[in-house]
Subunit: 313 residues, 2 copies
């Protein structure tokens, strides 16, 4: 029998799961070549505007393969619906039987992306995080913060967003999590006051300039998951130790892709997150260097979180 | 609310649906460029052997997009399971919301593939079908026959398969459908006695030779849906009017792909099924020419049958 899980059931099971550990193992296995992750499938709609990503793959000796459908339809909030929709499917890797359908409404993607930020910060953040700087005030800005509290004791937050009422809501939520929060007027102010930056916007133009970044800063760039989106000036990437969640995906999407297109990628400074997590590559080498984690989202993360929910561990 | 339909519910709804008409419309729209159908996603496993196809797409002004996962795990029968497994998903094209999950266990794929054979035979078969010749005796050989009865009055069948007990079962089922059946010892005998041939095997080597094919024969080749599979000697394709369900997919899979690889494809004789259905391209032009329909299976078919079930029309 195929198990169909609603969000209520998924949430109940998540409470008992070590998602951070599962995500570290997933990146580690992926970078060791133990997973098969084909290129992302895409569908794009214009009326109304929406994009769909189909991510799928398997561990080579795993129990299940995953297929995830996740979409962003940006007019949804006007209909009282979340922009993000989607579900995850687990299939038995020995028979193809559909074992589970996780009707997570895109939330497991939000969570695993948030946790990936914490995985990156754990190995790349400066020794002393003075303040966390957040660009964007949406769901992902919340998920990043919820995950970061497990890897840094810092509870100072500088937040910036375009929409004042969203900023207000976000600050209220961050305070409820125990953060001391300052609202920044401009992204430059965030870069000036924080040395662990997280960018979570759907921007297609750079929000952060190289000259603003303090030495020793770590930046997790989460928003740019297509070839069109970009949050960082490519000169930031050019001068940084760059850690990609998937070097193969960064051929076509994300900050690494954009920097390479502009001829500003230093290939010798590009390593994969799972290799850093597994100790096969160096992450941060000095307290002064800038590090960038470019996260475009890999199906191995979807597999890991879906399996954790399915197995309840 | 996402509707989750089991096979029982799907089968009940199918009874009221004109699948042949839906499939003709789907091919017609596809060949007119009214659909977006990205390349097929694939995953391959070796232990046990299995391959997974992810087909997805949408009509440009449609109500829903489809994602279908279909797999063949060829050791399944030993476990009492069908080789084919899978499901279809319909998502609202305006919001991304998952409208329906069709737990069809791969059966809708079998049905739409069978019906595509009838769509092809309707426009390509010789005026008088003397006998239907079937290669292969599995599920698809049954689905093809069930669809063909709606487009030809012929009830003579010449059947060939490798496994004698499967042939026996198949002949019994075909007789129950009203067919007069002869079992052939070799594929050559099928070609000699029938002028509407259907090939439904997973063969990777040609089963039919060009010299065996009678003038005026139509062949629907269904088995070869990857780049490795092949049922027809490419010299058959070379000498025939060739109708592909998807010219773009035939760049990478099916009989057209194999013939092109061998330098034996006559590109001027290649047209698309939906263009023939829609009257924009000629199918059979003379009573003597051999016609080949190369069907690799297109997501627009999955969309059409899933929507027909969902809407109940």
């Amino acid at each position: 029998m195929t198990q169909v899980m609603t969000w209520q059931e998924i949430e109940r099971r998540l409470a008992g799961v070590n998602v951070l550990g599962a995500m570290e193992e997933a990146f580690d296995a992926y970078s060791q070549g133990l997973a098969t992750i084909p290129p992302v499938g895409e569908l794009t709609f214009t009326d109304p505007p929406g994009d769909v990503h189909i991510k799928y793959g398997a561990l080579n000796h795993g129990s299940h393969y995953v297929v995830k459908v996740a979409s962003g339809f940006y007019d949804n909030p006007g209909l009282g619906l979340s922009s993000c929709q989607g579900l995850m499917l687990l299939f038995d890797q020995k028979t193809g039987f559909p074992s589970a359908i996780l009707l997570d409404e895109g939330r497991l993607t939000d969570i695993r992306t948030g946790v990936a930020g914490a995985v990156a910060a754990k190995v790349l953040a400066p020794k002393t995080v003075e303040a966390i700087g957040m660009l964007g005030t949406g769901i992902q800005a919340r998920r990043q913060l919820e995950s970061l509290v497990h890897v840094t004791p810092c509870r100072r937050l500088i937040a910036w967003g375009r929409n004042p009422s969203h900023v207000e809501d976000y600050i209220r939520d961050a305070r409820a999590m125990g953060f001391e929060v300052v609202a920044a007027k401009e992204p430059e102010e965030v870069a000036a006051k924080a040395n662990l930056l997280v960018t979570t916007t759907p921007s297609t133009k750079p929000l952060l300039r190289a000259a603003w970044i303090r030495p020793g800063t770590h930046i997790t760039a989460v928003g740019a998951d297509t070839g069109e989106k970009q949050e960082l000036d490519s000169r930031i990437v050019q001068g940084a130790r760059v850690v990609s969640d998937s070097i193969s995906q960064s051929q076509a999407r994300g900050e690494v892709f954009r920097a390479r297109q502009e001829g500003l990628l230093n290939e010798a400074e590009l390593v994969e997150l799972g290799d850093v997590v597994g100790g096969r590559a160096e992450g941060r080498r000095t307290s002064d260097e800038v590090t960038v984690a470019d996260l475009t989202g890999v199906a191995v993360q979807d597999l890991a979180i879906a399996l954790a929910v399915f197995n309840g561990t």
